[in-house]
Amino acid sequence: MNDYLLLFIGAVIVNNFVLTRFLGLCIFFGVSKNLKASVGMGMAVTSVIFISSIFAYGVYNFILVPLHVTFLTTIVFVLLIASFVQLLEMVIRRYLPALYKMWGIYLLLIATNCVVLAVPLINIESNFSFAKSLVNALGSGVGFAVAIILMASLREKLRLAEVPKPLEGLGIAFIVAGFLSLSFFGFSGMIK
């Protein structure tokens, strides 16, 4: 149990996906202008990572390994995740219109995105068991959500600040992310 807890906290804080591994930056900077959108995006990413990790684990261990074609992992995972996300989008639009309104548009944005592809790849690279893959996926998603929500709150405050002209927009966003990353770095001694 302890193991799983450490893995979870490690994925959320210590190895935070955005701030120490630089994954999902396109979405991170694109969506974090708006707090409400960031919350929706955080939820969408978490659920997609979680479910696609399940699929990826199955496909890798029951199809790719027995057939000795593990070098196809990248191709198979990309197509798997992209088509799964499309399907999810259709199902949600049909059966859960309220939910679709909330984060439907973000689903298509993450169909081919590095966060979603990276988690299954990391799970396989680290030889995680099925349960550990799930914990890692959940932790990574929550970590992404925490980072993007923090960033969105910071950027809303930033709107009132006077920023040097060349740094307006993207430049200052990076610098703020740098300080955010610096503060997360303080946790790095927590888990070996």
Binding site: F71, T73, T112, C114, F174, G178, F179, F185
Partner: protein, 208 residues
Amino acid sequence: MFRLWKIFSKGLIMENPIFVLALSLCPALAVTTTVINALTMGLSVLFVLSANNVVVSLTRKLVNHKVRVPIYITSIATIVTLVQLLLQAYAPLLYKDLGIYLSLIVVFAIILARAEVFASKNSVVPSFFDGFGMGCGFTLAMLIIGTIRELVGNGTILGYNILGHAYQPALIMILPPGAFLLIGYLVGASKLLNEYLEKRQKARGEVV
């Protein structure tokens, strides 16, 4: 000839994928801790981008418009797998250093964007130059970031000691926060440079 040069050169500065378009940032931050890693990553992307543009352009009349995105993704993933296998065979240490980020070239927004915006509408030669130019711009940006980070954070370039042994390396530049700060300032600097170039072009009376 002039038209091709224009297609090639716009990726270098005016539409630099990293500093101006802010696409494909993950690798720019993650693997630029040393010059050699940055260069390998840059060249891999350069290869994938030009090769994919050529493939997409060659097949642009065969591909049904509705299923184009999955086909582009398959083509990109195939080329990336080729690069992975080549690096694994001939440069295993670099392959290990780049790790997961090499597979992630598949989902780089810049590659899909160039296929969709340019290669699917133009013939082979301009498409190649478009991909080549964007790839060079990407590599250039990676080199700039990698050089600054390795020099300030470790006092070396390509492993050779440049700043002497008395230099105290500023470790933060190699750590993640330093990467974010550096890119922030570089984005600002490239904005200034672009404004200057535009002004100069206008002063000369050219149409931008």
